[in-house]
């Protein structure tokens, strides 16, 4: 019976084991090996040592793509997490059905396919007559050419990204709902101001959720592709107007791998991305462990 049970356990794991070997571990090893080759899909892969990595270090487009992606991430993540936290706090103050309705509204943009988001914001951010500049004009501000001026493309992309914070808001709202009322009320009776209550009671209790949102959002930001590719890549004209101003890292990786068929170079690029994500996540976890308050650790 026990032996049979173990055998059956592995039967249930077969899909995972096959998938792990064929679609995860195998490709990972293959990708590492390919990164030391020149491979254009037609000939056989040719071993070139660390040439791809040396090329990456000297490739101005890599520098540009890394710079754009990091700058976007550094601006987008704090803004989007703070805004989501603000919305979640507002939702937490209203009770009943209203909170549910607003929560749904905040999440709706996240049901819009990224390609459609890109299309929509090409129109909304249009420098001549787009909605954003119309609104700015009401306040007497002469808005920039968000979609054609290289200096303003990245800020435009950040603005677009802030339309999609419904998921973060829902996670933080759920965490806020789990903060026991007794604790905030006890602090209130002890004479804590609302700011003190937030800092010393609410914030520690939602810090795990906040940390989670920051980490997930960072990893997603570093892999930004769909919206940017829709808006600024894919055709000669689009690429000509945007230049490298909107060149994100995964966009460049995709171009190298699947447009220029430099599969070895693309693999090397993928490993740099993996390393950067791993390092950033590691740092976040180290810092997070010091800042985040976990319930079990306290008791």
């Amino acid at each position: 019976m026990r032996a049979g049970e173990t055998r059956w356990a592995y039967v249930f794991l077969i899909p995972w084991i096959v998938g792990l070997v064929v679609f995860q571990a195998g490709p990972m090893i293959a990708s590492a090996a390919l990164s030391f080759t020149d491979y254009d899909l037609i000939g056989a892969p040719e071993f070139v040592g660390v040439k791809n990595y040396a090329m990456m270090a000297a490739d101005p487009k890599v520098a540009r793509a890394v710079g754009n992606t990091l700058l976007y991430t550094v601006v987008h993540v704090p803004l989007s997490c703070l805004l989501a936290l603000g919305l979640a706090l507002l939702l937490n103050k209203v009770t009943g059905r209203a909170a549910g309705v607003f929560r749904t509204i905040f999440y709706l943009p996240s049901m819009t396919p990224y390609v459609a988001v890109g299309v929509l914001f090409l129109f909304l951010l249009n420098g001549q007559a787009g909605l954003l500049n119309e609104v700015l004009a009401v306040f007497g501000v002469d808005g920039p050419q968000w979609t054609t001026d290289p200096d303003w493309m990245l800020p435009g992309i950040v603005i677009m990204s802030l339309w999609n914070l419904g998921a973060s808001t829902i996670v933080l709202f759920a965490a806020l709902r789990n903060v026991p009322r007794e604790l905030t009320e006890a602090a209130m009776i002890d004479g804590a101001s609302s700011r003190q209550r937030f800092r010393n009671v609410t914030l520690p209790l939602i810090s795990a959720a906040l940390f989670f949102v920051v980490v997930v959002d960072t990893i997603a930001a570093l892999q930004m592709f769909d919206q940017v590719y829709t808006m600024y890549f894919g055709t000669a004209q689009a690429q000509q107007t945007s230049g490298d101003a909107a060149l994100f890292y995964v966009v460049y990786l995709f171009q190298q791998g699947f447009q220029f068929l430099n599969m070895g170079y693309a693999s090397a690029l993928a490993w740099l991305l993996f390393a950067v994500i791993a390092v950033i996540t590691f740092i976040q976890v180290r810092v997070g462990n010091r800042l985040v308050h976990y319930e079990d650790a306290a008791s």
């Binding site: 990708s31 709202f173 590719y229």
Partner: protein, 276 residues
């Protein structure tokens, strides 16, 4: 403090309504602009003059109907494949105790952290070597082997099922496959629905895989098709903005409908897993 409660609540409501307007207005703009003639795309707020013809023309200007059907077929295949296979594997992790279980489960968690970009090129080479590039198979068939995220979700859910139900069925002579199919699957329905709709959404969003694997326009899914529409009618020398806008609405609307049908599961899924 208590005296200004109603004022505070009103202030809160105004803030939330303002935020809602910011989130909703882009949708309103999109729909209204798609109902205006091209030379009025950026003009005014209301769909005046009213011109709904774009929604008839869009099916002619591009094979939107084919793309819609493709998206449904690929999306359902991807969601069904990942839900069934992930549930199968999750049951293995949740029900059995066996040597190497923790190590295997660590491999599930580990792959969640692997960025898709790392396996992009070799995965393409695999599909290329079996001659399936240029078909829709790579868009969903990888899902037949379960996905770490859903395995995790479903295992957590199945661990919460009362064990005596399974033991009772064993005593009654049920096989392990029977335990999975007749007990674990029906009892895990809410979690299975969450997995299904999230993968359906992910498939409906996906631009990268169709870009990589599909050349034939007839095989495109909606996002890839919409990108082709943008390239031709927005960026290209043949500007037809009303077609681009109508195509965007057609691409988005099915998901909005699915969201309202399965809203409970979406919100629950995000709140418990953080998936977007």
């Amino acid at each position: 403090m208590t005296t200004d409660r109603p004022t505070r609540r009103l202030f809160l409501m105004i803030l939330l309504a303002g935020a809602s307007a910011i989130f909703l207005y882009p949708f309103v703009w999109l729909v209204f602009a798609s109902l205006r003639p091209r030379d009025r795309t950026f003009a005014g707020q209301w769909p005046i003059p009213f011109r709904p013809q774009s929604y008839l023309e869009v099916w002619e200007a591009a094979p939107m109907l084919t793309w819609l059907i493709n998206s449904v077929v690929v999306g359902v295949a991807a969601a069904l494949a990942v839900t069934v296979s992930s549930a199968f594997v999750a049951f293995g992790f949740a029900y059995f105790r066996f040597p190497g279980r923790n190590l295997m489960f660590a491999s599930v968690l580990g792959t969640m952290m692997l960025p898709a970009a790392v396996t992009l090129v070799p995965t393409y080479l695999i599909w290329n070597s079996v001659g399936l590039t240029g078909t829709q198979v790579p868009l969903w068939a990888g899902n037949l082997f379960g996905s770490a995220f859903y395995i995790f979700l479903l295992r957590q859910f199945m661990l919460g099922l009362p064990r005596y139900v399974f033991e009772a069925a064993r005593v009654d002579g049920a096989s392990y496959l029977g335990l999975f199919w007749r007990i674990a699957v029906p009892l895990s329905r809410p979690a299975l629905i969450i997995a299904f709709i999230f993968e359906l959404k992910a498939s409906w969003f996906d631009l990268m895989k169709p870009l990589i694997y599909l050349q034939n326009t007839e095989l495109f899914t909606l996002p890839r098709g919409l990108k082709a529409v943008v390239d031709r009618f927005y960026q290209g020398g043949d500007p037809k903005w009303e077609i681009v806008l109508a195509a965007s609405v057609v691409t988005t609307l099915p998901l909005i409908v699915i969201f309202f049908l399965g809203q409970r599961y979406f919100l629950q899924g995000i709140a418990t897993t953080g998936r977007r």
